[in-house]
């Protein structure tokens, strides 16, 4: 019997029992819908991570001090990174375009009668905006002279304008940071939410020397980190190792294991985050996949009932010349059709669900800009999986049908 005839017979058989067909495939529908939704959300998270790293700068390298813990006692905190390290990196590492020291601080920002606790208050070098691939909306950034003179000038993010200045022009205004007066000289472009959903525009940037001396009150040239940017994403590996070699040499350390700093590039962090989202997606998909197996068992159950119900039909077909494999194919195709039907419904449902999820996330957290992802390969894999479930669980009932004795089958009431 030709495939087309077999197909037609299978479709007719399913149409005779529409309700039963729908109920039978419910398990597969739920399984495929769940997998599709989870994969779509996982893929969305993945894209989000990637696009966030683009706003951070895909070529950013971070250097942090590490402290020697040998002997079980946390050693004297020593200034392992200094701003001269940052200068040296720019000067000596050919693959590095720019580098900026980072000095954290915190506290209250006061303007007139308003005050605000900015999330990020940081001392940076004159190259910071180059490193971060960030621009000014208005005004100017502080230069080398301001750094050397520890000038009391600052550049503010968009959130501070909203919170402190509202309508008045902040450029040239005087604000107080932990009671030290600063003059606002520039405004940063809006950057939106960061990876963790936090506001990247809630930021106040000052010369690192000013923060260290006037706010933190440290005498030594000690920085909390250095941020550098490589010439290109492709040469980040080279830039990273250049920085490592340079700092080892500068800090007079022979053994790389004993380095008093660590160098991370954002691709590493990005891939770590991607791995986490990927693992989560895979795990949840596997759990949803269990529903597929349950759905498959449901199909097998109904196909067994169907074979018993249609014993006589099978007998008739055999009497007029159907071979075992004709019967096998007929029932196998029927169960594969069933599961593919379930797959198709599940796929539509899953797509609708992931669209709803994306919409919900974007309504709840608009600045995340959660991407809606419909993956064609994932859809194909889901359909393939549904077909495989039908094939696997339909085989036993179909084989049973094909093995019936024609005489017994004809006599069956």
């Amino acid at each position: 019997m030709s495939f087309w005839d077999t197909f037609r017979i299978a479709v007719l058989a399913l149409r005779k029992n529409k309700m039963r067909a729908i109920l039978t495939v419910l398990g597969v529908v739920i399984g495929i819908a769940a997998v599709t939704t989870i994969v779509s959300i996982g893929e969305g998270a993945h894209r989000l991570v990637q696009s966030e790293f683009k706003t951070l700068g895909t070529n950013v390298i971070l250097i942090f001090p590490t402290y020697d813990n040998s002997g079980g006692v946390r050693g004297e905190r020593q200034a392992s990174l200094s701003s001269t390290d940052a200068d040296a990196i720019v000067r000596d590492c050919r693959e590095v375009v720019a580098a900026s020291p980072l000095v954290w601080t915190g506290g209250q920002v006061i303007y007139g009668n308003d005050n605000w606790n900015a999330k990020t208050m940081m001392g940076v070098g004159e190259n910071y905006l180059t490193v971060r691939n960030w621009d000014l909306e208005a005004g100017s950034f502080f230069g080398r002279g301001d750094i050397e003179a520890s000038s009391k000038v600052c550049v503010i993010g968009q959130t501070l304008i909203k919170e402190l200045f509202r309508t008045s022009n902040p450029i040239g205004a005087s604000i107080r940071v932990n009671s030290v007066p600063f003059r606002v000289i520039g405004i940063l472009d809006a950057k939106g939410a960061g990876l963790d959903g936090s506001d990247q525009d809630d930021v106040l940037l000052m010369p690192h020397t000013t923060v260290r001396k006037r706010i933190n009150g440290t005498a030594f040239d000690e920085v909390h980190g250095i941020m550098a940017s490589a010439r290109e994403v492709s040469t980040m590996g080279a830039a990273t190792s250049e920085i490592k070699q340079l700092l080892l040499q500068r800090h007079k350390i022979d053994d790389e294991e004993k380095a008093d700093f660590q160098v991370q590039d954002t691709t590493e962090i990005a891939s770590a985050l991607t791995m986490i989202t990927g693992t989560l997606t895979a795990m949840l998909s596997a759990i949803a996949g269990i529903s597929l197996v349950v759905g498959g068992v449901g199909i097998m159950n109904i196909m067994l009932v169907s074979v018993t119900e249609r014993t006589r039909e099978i007998g008739i077909r055999m009497a007029i010349g159907a071979r075992g494999r004709d019967i096998l194919r007929q029932f196998l195709l029927e169960s594969v059709l069933l599961s593919c039907l379930g797959g198709l419904i599940g796929l539509s449902l899953g797509t609708a669900l992931s669209m709803a999820a994306a919409t919900a996330i974007n309504t709840y957290k608009p600045d995340l800009e959660w991407p809606m992802v419909i993956s064609i390969p994932a859809a194909l894999v889901a359909m393939g999986f549904a077909a495989a479930v039908g094939m696997f669980f339909g085989y036993y009932p179909a084989r049973r049908a094909s093995r019936l004795d024609p005489i017994d089958a004809l006599r069956y009431e």
Binding site: R312, A319, I407
Partner: protein, 243 residues
């Protein structure tokens, strides 16, 4: 004499029911020539259904040889026998055995689907021809439930004939029909036998069917006890148990 269409040599069929052995056919030797019209009669349990299933290649004898058109059936596997059924045999059953919720046309087309390649247009034409032959040319799209018993049996006969088999087998083909439609069906068998030279083999309880046959074979306890062209002989053999 030319080789017979059907040749049975010492055919036996033993069923094992638990510990017991049931001898449905003890030893049957039989030859049927092409174009014959044969009735198999006998009381219940005489083995006529088993003989019919054997002749119809649905069952395989436990012992002996069955040559159909020169081909040995007993050594064939399931699929080979299915192909023989499809190509050379047409079946008509007591309860018609049509597929429900399937049109007359599609029922008749079914054997063609399992046969060699044929376009669906050719199939339609052939099925339509057969339904017209049995006088149902105007009922092509009717489902079995929309047809009377006699009409259903005609559809079944059309289905049996559609592959142009050499043998038409009927298992109590009039068993579920009233006497008038029975007569029509019998007439149809006779006509097919005479005009198309189709070999007809019928199992029956119906005296009218048996009387109409050219040759009557009487079975009792798994053996042929009479093989005659005279219905009265056969009737006597049925009534009197041979000693």
């Amino acid at each position: 004499m030319s080789e017979a269409l059907i040749q049975l040599r010492d055919v036996r069929r033993v069923y094992e029911v638990g510990e017991m052995e049931v001898h449905a056919l003890r030893s049957v030797d039989l030859e049927i020539q092409a174009g014959e019209y044969v009735a198999l009669i006998g009381p219940s349990g005489s083995g006529k259904s088993t003989l019919m299933n054997t002749l119809g290649c649905l069952d395989r004898p436990s012992h002996g040889s069955y040559l159909l058109g020169g081909e040995e059936i007993t050594t064939m596997n399931r699929d080979e026998r299915a192909a023989i059924r499809n190509r050379r045999l047409g079946f008509v059953f007591q309860n018609f055995n049509l597929l429900q919720r399937t049109s007359a046309m599609e029922n008749v087309e079914l054997p063609l689907m399992y046969a060699a390649k044929m376009t669906s247009k050719q199939r339609h034409e052939q099925a339509e021809k057969m339904l017209s032959l049995v006088g149902l040319g105007d009922r092509l799209d009717h489902h079995p439930s929309q047809l009377s018993g006699g009409q259903q049996q005609r559809v079944a006969i059309a289905r049996a004939l559609v592959n142009e088999p050499s043998i038409l087998m009927g298992d109590e083909p009039t068993g579920n029909l009233d006497s008038k439609t029975s007569r029509d069906v019998i007439r149809l068998f006779r006509e097919l036998n005479q005009t198309q030279r189709i070999t007809v083999i019928l199992v029956t309880h119906d005296a009218n069917v048996a009387r109409n046959a050219d040759r009557i074979i009487v079975l009792r306890d798994g053996e042929i006890v009479e093989d005659t062209d005279d219905f009265e002989h056969a009737k006597r053999a049925l009534e009197v148990a041979p000693l």
